[in-house]
């Protein structure tokens, strides 16, 4: 599978455009990957990527702290849940309220060749990233040619 480089250093003008087209292409033509998701239009949205050694699941959940996010795995199912506080201060009133708050939970069924026990998660700039490596036997391997 081709891995893309969306590096602004390689192509400062079109890096973002290329990434957006690639994300769009997958929305329009799913690669037939059945993640057993609860469906599109459920908040918060997730994106799933593949990389050389595994999968990357990404979710945009800005304004939370890592303690408010719960990540669980059960068999092949990865569940991301949490609660975003509305953080309403006291002594004033809202003019506009567009940011959503409340509880969320999303479950994904991952391919069997991934090792969920070695999954790692990070939270940066409001983006939750979970990296799930492939099982050792499923990793790409260099095969050497024996001399005859």
């Amino acid at each position: 599978m081709a891995l893309f480089r969306f590096s602004p250093t390689l192509d400062p003008i079109n890096a973002l455009l290329n990434l957006q087209r690639e994300l769009e292409r997958v929305v329009d033509n799913p690669l037939g990957l059945d993640l057993g998701l609860s469906g599109r239009g459920v908040s918060p949205a997730v994106n799933v990527f593949s990389e050389r050694d595994g999968y990357v699941v990404r979710m945009e959940v800005p304004g939370m702290s890592p303690e408010q996010i719960n990540i669980e795995s059960h068999g092949r199912t990865l569940t991301l849940s949490g609660k975003r506080d509305s953080g309403a201060p006291q002594g004033g009133s809202f003019h506009r309220r567009e940011r959503s708050s409340g509880q969320f939970s999303r479950s994904l069924q991952l391919p069997a060749d991934l090792d969920l026990s070695r999954a790692e998660a990070s939270y940066k700039q409001g983006m939750l990233t979970v990296r799930i490596p492939k099982k050792e036997e499923a990793k790409p391997r260099q095969i050497t040619i024996k001399a005859a």
């Binding site: 079109n14 908040s43 953080g87 003019h95 940011r99 990233t129």
Partner: protein, 132 residues
Amino acid sequence: MTNQELTPREKQELTRDEQTRPGRTYVPDVDIYETADSLWLWADMPGVDEHSLELNVADGVLAIQGRVALQDYDNLAPVYTEYNVGNYARRFTLSNEIDAEHIKARMTNGVLELELPKTERAKPRRIAVAAS
């Protein structure tokens, strides 16, 4: 209210103002809150850090712009996608009551927080009534 589920909300694409660079731009979701002394604004801009954020006040218009970091997508191939990523932009017309010189901004976990202090003139004042 506290147990309410997060309501589904698609990212809103900015379609009015054309940007000079190619690519989609999104409108960040904002909350605006008013207290006696200030207006507070929070904008959800996941993927943007404090260095890629640009705030401008000109002619009474506050312009917020944020660029997403693309390094996080290096060497990844999308296999399932529900949202697109892009830069953020949104503009607000400020009333004369805002002291543009003293606006404070802070970026935490993908949320921009702006404090827009009111001018002294615009702050509510309690007028004491003297008993006659």
